[in-house]
């Protein structure tokens, strides 16, 4: 593929898109010279066609769900139904100012109310706040609520949050942001939390534990009740990282597992787009004891049935606001539309077929000779393959496999996460992929294994067919080049 220059390199002084601004202008009366900008910013000066062509060409350099199988573990890259985007983009939704009167916002409030109710049902929690803008912000809300709960009881001795060593990086980072020390809990050889280590770690200093279930190892934490009991008995609360909810939708409710708070990644389970990095939505569900501390605003309903925003007047013990307005409303709307189309049977089917696809793909790859990290366990919606043998002999790494997969037209699975499994690929096919796609992926993996056995250089040099060959990350970090500079 040819190199696409930077948009700045397409720029020509004096080129102006009159269609967008011909009639606009005005003087800057009232703003003294001393406050005015002297040099205009060097934004590109291009035609509308230049802009459209450039950004269309750039888009063609991306892999995406719409163009490629994208089995990125922990990320739930399932098809994003187009109806969700089309309907969330109706002018009646897009044109609404966030500070519109409640009376004028009943349409959007009704949608958000319905979504709150559905998420309550799915999680088995007492109440839901939709406001967190991604998983990590949901985690922040959850741990901040745990802290507010202990503080409200005058229990100030709790300074630690327990986090399994397999946890996503946002878990420990969140605990730190909430002012806690992080204590890691090891995983046993079967992929479950090491209960002995947990018992040794809990105590009066334990504020809570952050658990992901199914865990980031792609297995169900079987002794969850015992873990809940141990932590609760020590006076700690339980945080549920619900990023992997896709595997258990309608099968298990976190509320039934005695969790106090959960966040969901709607940009995973509820299929809102990842957009090349975001936006997401990370609503939190809470148990009764954390309900007073929920982040605001929350959608409520008055006696007449009209919807309204609940704020600090309704929830005086709230942990507060997490965004200037009410979070990523447009993403919540997409999740709502998706949930309506699925309905109750459709939700359970997601868990069914996500699990079937993962177990099928795991079985096929095992039959093709690959090693699973936890061979005796069932896969949930994802599973981990380890290339530690291949890394030793013939000497190809998970990274090499990942890059070569790109040449075969597949996005790579998640690599090197969780950190505790060497040379791992975390593979999550999702329910929206067909058997035929999964079979093609297995063939590609087998072909790459055969290449590796013949000549490892084939893999070391991959990818070959993409816009660029393998990129030098080390150089990028050493010799920082974070922006284009006009030539002097």
């Amino acid at each position: 593929m040819s190199n696409e220059p930077l948009i700045f390199e397409h720029s020509r002084p004096g080129r102006v898109n009159r269609a967008q601004s011909a009639h606009l202008g005005g003087n800057l009366d009232g703003i003294p010279e001393s406050l005015r900008r002297k040099q205009p910013p060097r934004l590109p000066e291009v035609s509308e066609l230049d802009a459209v062509r450039h950004y269309t060409r750039l888009s063609q350099k991306n892999f995406s769900i719409d163009t490629h199988f994208y089995p990125l573990g922990s990320c739930t890259m399932k098809y994003n139904p187009r109806a969700c985007n089309t309907l969330a983009s109706l002018p009646g939704f897009l044109g609404q100012h966030p500070l519109s009167a409640e009376r004028d916002s009943q349409g959007i409030l009704a949608c958000l109310w319905d979504l709150q109710e559905m998420l309550k049902e799915v999680t088995g929690m007492t109440a839901v706040s939709l406001t967190p803008m991604a998983g990590a912000q949901g985690e922040f809300a959850g741990v901040a609520m745990i802290r507010a709960y202990h503080d409200a009881r005058g229990d100030n001795a709790r300074t630690e949050i327990l986090v399994p060593d397999a946890a996503h990086g946002t878990n420990p980072a969140t605990a730190t942001m909430c002012g806690y020390k992080v204590r890691e809990i090891p995983t046993d050889t079967h992929g479950d939390i090491d209960i002995e280590a947990l018992m040794a770690a809990v105590g009066p200093q334990t504020a809570g534990i952050m658990l992901t279930n199914p865990s980031t190892l792609g297995v169900f934490e079987r002794r969850i009740h015992e873990i809940a009991r141990i932590v609760h008995e020590a006076g700690g609360l339980l945080y549920y990282d619900g990023a992997n909810l896709n595997a258990i939708l309608g099968k298990v409710k976190p509320g039934d597992m005695d969790f106090d708070v959960i966040h969901m990644n709607l940009h995973k389970t509820f299929s809102t787009p990842h957009g090349g990095g975001g936006p997401g939505a990370g609503p939190v569900g809470v148990s009764e004891r954390l309900q007073p501390f929920m982040p605001i605003p929350v959608v409520g309903r008055d006696d007449s049935g009209a919807f309204r925003w609940l704020d600090e007047r309704d929830l005086p013990q709230t942990i507060g606001r997490l965004s200037a307005h009410m979070g990523n409303t447009g993403i919540l709307l997409r999740a709502y539309i998706y949930a309506l189309m699925l309905g109750r049977e459709g939700m359970v089917r997601i868990a069914d077929y996500a699990t079937l696809n993962a177990n099928y793909l795991m079985a096929r790859l095992r039959d093709a000779g690959f090693d699973m990290a936890l061979p005796e366990r069932r896969a949930t919606h994802e599973f981990i393959l380890t290339l530690k043998h291949q890394a030793r002999e013939p000497g190809v790494t998970a990274m090499d496999f990942a890059k070569r997969l790109l040449d075969y037209g597949f996005h790579a699975p998640t690599t090197y996460f969780p950190l505790i499994i060497p040379e791992c690929l975390l593979i999550e096919p999702t329910e929206t992929e067909s058997k035929q796609t999964l079979d093609a992926f297995v063939e590609a993996m087998a072909a790459i294994q055969a290449e590796a056995e013949k000549d490892i250089e084939t893999l070391k040099g991959a990818p070959y067919s993409l816009p660029v060959r393998r990129l030098d990350d080390v150089k990028a970090a050493r010799k920082l080049d974070l922006r284009w500079q006009a030539e002097a």
Partner: protein
């Protein structure tokens, strides 16, 4: 089955490969006592047509009066090309560009975005986005605490002219880290922070926040404030409106003292750059800084590099700052950001160009001046604050603004934002705004309606 492609034959064959009789068998590691009852509280599934009907009806229940409200979310015209391109599946349905070679489109676009934000603010570098303007400011405060190694006090000077909801969010986010936010009151005549009112010997301060324009639409004396902060060893955090940057002095040029010129960290709400109002989100927060403190910046950053053959390409860089590498010692817990919104903003800035953006800014300014003048013709309506402003203004009404707004709403006018709860000392104050999307006739309609309501 909605969004599940399996035929019965497929399912049967797949189960056989797994060595089980039914899908249910695949859940046998879940303790039976945990199995949930049916999801009775969820309605039955509906097809696209039925859902479309419902959503059209709901959208119609949102009334959309003529908008004269701003307060951090502005109705601007968005060129059609912006969202036509942004919603291409290759952008819309891609993940975070961790596999750089398969994500050069998103990565190059973000590198261009970082350049544009740095240009707009006259700063050296930018990141690839944070959640929104409010969280960007909270992250900027946390960053300042890390970056200002000389200061031990964790003490931030926070003007009351910063958006009240931003201050709320900041409280929520930074309160657990022993940081004090000291409020600075504004000058009641100017509606700005009077540099002369700042203490001569403030002691150890970590950073001073400067909003430009501030929440009242008033332009702060950013030069004097910046010099004051730097003289006292504090970093300067600018929180700016990107549209305003086209015409007013950008934070990279604040201050007249040669040494240490410009704000150190700049953040803000990116919504004015091509993002629809959409009831408050998704928008995006942006952040820029001086290159020497870039290792303290939160969020994803894209850098240019070369491939095996020496060809230019782009990657996520300085990842050792981030949660997936540094875990509990990361600069922030942020992971997913607002990628698609920055895609739209990049295309918006490209289509508008420097000239288009400046024309938008000038038109907004002119429209707001015209609006303030027309509304001021009504008896009992006065303009507060005599300092220069941009794009937004505070008026004082003879009656509570909440009441007046309710009556304007009956005339299909969203007449601004009531300041009574946040600034009770201002009396019946109303914050108004007219962007380039308001016509003379719109302004006329508002003026007539206000005269009726107050008449």
């Amino acid at each position: 089955m909605p969004f599940i492609p399996h035929t019965e034959d497929d399912t049967r064959a797949m189960l056989a490969t797994c060595g089980v009789d039914s899908i249910e068998d695949l859940f046998d590691e879940i303790p039976p006592e945990l199995r949930a009852d049916a999801l009775d509280g969820i309605p039955a599934g509906r097809d696209e047509l039925a859902v479309s009907r419902l959503l059209h009806a709901r959208a119609a229940e949102n009334a959309q009066p003529l908008c004269f409200s701003g307060a951090g979310a502005y109705e601007h015209h968005i060129p059609a090309a912006v969202w036509e391109i942004t919603t291409r599946g290759e952008y819309y349905s891609a993940y975070t560009p961790y596999q750089a070679e398969a994500s050069q489109g998103t990565l190059q676009l973000l590198y261009e975005f970082q350049t544009m934000m740095a240009e707009l603010t006259a700063m050296e570098v930018a990141n690839a986005s944070l959640y929104d303007g409010a969280t960007a400011l909270a992250e900027a405060v946390l960053m300042a605490v890390r970056a200002n190694r000389k200061s031990k006090a964790r003490r931030i000077f926070m003007p009351r002219t910063v958006h009240p909801r931003y201050r709320d969010v900041m409280q929520t986010i930074v309160r657990h880290q022993g940081i004090t936010l000291e409020l600075l009151d504004y000058n009641s005549a100017g509606g700005h922070i009077d540099p002369a009112s700042l203490p001569a010997e403030p002691g150890d301060i970590t950073a001073l926040v400067i909003p430009q324009p501030n929440f009242f639409g008033v332009l702060e004396d950013a030069d004097a404030l910046t010099d004051w902060a730097h003289t006292h060893g504090a970093l300067v955090i600018g929180v700016v409106n990107p549209t305003a940057m086209a015409v007013i002095t950008p934070p990279g040029e604040w201050g007249v003292l040669d040494e240490n010129r410009g704000a150190d960290i700049v953040c803000g709400e990116g919504q004015p750059l091509g993002i629809p109002l959409a009831s408050g989100g998704p928008y995006f927060g942006f952040m820029c800084c001086k290159q020497k403190i870039v290792r303290q910046m939160p969020g994803r950053i894209i850098g240019a590099t070369v491939d095996l053959e020496g060809k230019r390409g782009y990657v996520l860089t300085l990842q050792a700052r981030e949660q997936h590498i540094r875990r509990s010692k990361a600069t922030s817990n942020i992971c997913t950001n607002q990628g698609l919104m920055t895609t739209a903003a990049t295309i918006y800035m490209t289509v508008m160009g420097p000239t288009g953006l400046e024309r938008v800014a000038r038109q907004c300014h002119a429209n707001t001046r015209a609006l303030v003048q027309r509304l001021g013709e009504t008896d009992g309506v006065e303009t507060l604050f005599d300092r220069p402003g941009f794009h937004e203004r505070v008026l004082r009404l003879p009656r509570p603004a909440g009441e007046v707004l309710a009556e304007l709403a009956e005339r299909s006018i969203l007449g601004g934002v009531d300041l009574a709860a946040d600034y009770p000392e201002l009396g019946h104050a109303l914050l108004v705004c007219a962007t380039e999307t308001r016509s003379e006739a719109d302004i006329d309609a508002y003026a007539k309606a206000l005269a009726e309501v107050l008449g």
